[in-house]
Assembly symmetry: C2
Homo-oligomer: 409 residues x 2
């Protein structure tokens, strides 16, 4: 077979290898979703434990900690199997750097857990430490998703990533509400922080809905009742009035915790469904690509064996009809890859928008010494005032980066 045709096959084999790597990536993302969920539970229980002055939830906390440690071992083992010495991990530098960050924050959890046991840490600090670990996990997931090369799988991964991110905001809202109801003492700026958590969930679930496939969305809608949104909204309303200054109410705290936990557990089921869909999707795509490769190989071998195929490998001569068949295959493959690349660009646009908003937020935080919630609020307010999308305002801010004052510089 001449070298042009062998490159045609090499391109297809490359696609298959990329799909196989994506299957591995999807499996990693699924494991991290499970780990994030376990940590979210541990965070919620630790909050209740601390709020009860250690009087309750001690045993539940130990059980949940054991589960976390068990999944952590799996995660460490999975990280250890990443091909750090080879080239098969796309986006390797950024992915490994994120993994280093996660492992570092995991190492720190040991001390945090001891401090929680000894009640030598505030609810706020304990929550912040767990948030750091989970954000680190989401960072790994983001890089993994960012490296996807197949548009259909990329869509599913973008949906799952945004779902995980929205679920984490829901988890932070649970922790926030637990602390509020249990203490009765609202933090300054609590209202805007809470609103930020609610809006952020909304934004993430919107992207999820844009990218998730039909079956996942149907399951999502079917489980909406289970999540008891009406009850959640009622408790939110009570909580918001609590922000005007109330008194500790451990009954409300428990009610809030249970309501949020039901919601998070239902979300976890949907995550599992998405993970399973991803697994099946990858398998199907790999099988399909292998079949197509075999078919193409057979056609090319038949072509090469036909009378009229002659010449040297360097300058083969196939006759006009065979030439046209080969040209057709070359063009068809180029068209298909181009279409895939275009579709991938469209999916990745949503990831890029996220990057732009994150960068603009970071810039505002540094330039004006704002918290993340305040920076996001500023962005949203500007967008509303100018009647434009948040991402467009963010782009504008980045374009003006050089003229913004920054205390960080």
């Amino acid at each position: 077979m001449n070298s042009g045709l062998s490159f045609l096959l090499a391109a297809r084999q490359c696609e298959i290898r990329e799909l196989e790597q994506l299957a591995g990536t999807s499996e990693l993302v699924s494991l991290l979703a499970r780990f994030a969920h376990a940590l979210q539970r541990e965070r919620g229980i630790a909050n209740l434990f601390l709020a009860s002055q250690g009087a309750g939830f001690g045993e539940q906390r130990l059980v949940q900690m054991a589960e976390c440690l068990q999944i952590e071992a799996q995660v460490r083992e999975r990280f250890g199997r990443l091909d750090t010495g080879g080239d098969s991990v796309r986006n390797g530098a950024r992915l490994f750097s994120r993994v280093a960050g996660v492992l570092h924050s995991l190492d720190g959890l040991h001390g945090v857990r001891e401090a929680i046991a000894g009640r030598a840490i505030s609810t706020k600090e304990a929550t912040a430490a767990m948030v750091r670990v989970i954000n680190g996990l989401l960072g790994v997931v983001f890089e993994a998703v960012d490296s996807a090369t197949d548009p259909e799988i990329s869509r599913a991964l973008v949906a799952l990533f945004n779902f995980m991110q929205g679920k984490e905001f829901a988890g932070q809202e649970r922790a926030f509400g637990c602390a509020l109801f249990a203490s009765g003492r609202p933090e300054p700026g609590g209202k805007s922080q809470w609103q930020h958590l609610i809006d952020s969930q909304q934004a993430c679930f919107q992207v999820f809905a844009d990218f998730a496939d039909f079956e996942v969305l149907a399951a999502d809608r079917a489980s909406a009742d289970l999540r008891g949104l009406a009850e959640l909204e009622r408790l939110r309303r009570i909580g918001f009035s609590q922000l005007e200054g109330g008194r500790p109410d451990s009954g409300m705290a428990q009610l809030w915790y249970d309501c949020c936990t039901r919601r998070l557990d239902t979300m976890r089921e949907l995550e599992e469904l998405q993970a399973e869909h991803l697994r099946v999707l990858c398998e199907r795509k790999i099988a399909q690509a292998r079949t197509e490769l075999r078919d193409q190989q057979a056609v090319l071998e038949a072509l090469a064996a036909q009378p009229g195929a002659g010449g040297t490998p360097q300058a083969p001569h196939y006759g006009p009809q065979l030439e046209r068949s080969i040209l057709g295959m070359v063009q068809e493959q180029a068209r298909r890859l181009q279409a895939m690349s275009d579709e991938l660009d469209a999916v990745r646009a949503s990831l890029n928008e996220r990057k732009v908003v994150e960068r603009a937020k970071g810039l505002l935080m540094a330039a004006q010494q704002l918290t993340e919630a305040e920076a996001y609020k500023t962005l949203r307010q500007m967008a509303m005032n100018q009647n434009r999308r948040v991402v467009d305002v963010a782009e504008n801010i980045l374009a003006m980066a050089d003229v913004l004052p920054s205390r960080a510089r």
Copy 2:
């Protein structure tokens, strides 16, 4: 060393491997630029040969053909060394598919050359066949550039790619003018075709100027005189009046060929300068990354050996001060990679704009049965009328793709 720190080093090693791959990519791009130049010369000489009814340029043509075949052997050898079985080629599927296309069109050149020798092919057909091969080479270069992961090298590659593309339009303009002056018979639509070639050069050289580094731009300006732009503009003016209907003028054809060829040869020198800059840049970056890796390794080993570093590899304990140093390194690396990624996004935006315009052109061509030149003219006219950038208009057209009629569907 614990696993978090080893991932820190793995990220850096990954960067080094990516830079080494980029050095290989840059070398490939340089070779393809040399090949494209040789083919452009052969195309120009073949046009003169055909226009002179085989009376002149026969020997020059044989010499140039021999040079092309010699570089082609090098190109085939280089393609053969691409890692088609491994994972080291980023963007492999699309790159290999483009290589398959190039090799196929190179196989076809043999017949085209025989037809030229026997004067059994029109100037237009001969030109079209060579244009296909050179466009194929540019396609390979585009995919190679699209896979770059280092922002500085990516900038240099984007500059070089656009320069090559602009030079090819200049080469097509040379062929167009040769045919016009030699035949005296303008083709229908010749004026808009010529204008398209001039505008396309302009657009490419603008992007080149936006991305090329200072030294390359200085060399570009210094050689502007050598390219005899005034003479070119004078001949263009005469040519445009010729379009109203003139008579064959082989003297003018020769003058035009010489003027354009001087220009293309000077451009080739600038390409060589860019290729050399790229080579040095890659070397410098690789050396720098290796030094940084060694430094980091030394620091981490010193940290691990210090008193206070204890615990198990699974849950190491470094003491608060060491913890902070490690955290600092993790955060610094994450920040640096993030900054690189942001910068890369900005450089790649220009590649994406190109993709968007190409897709919109393709859509217009299919929907309204336009030539490429007409489609581009339509885009430009719409942009002027709406006072917007061509890429914004192109994006709009893509957004309306579903409602555009298409005879191709």
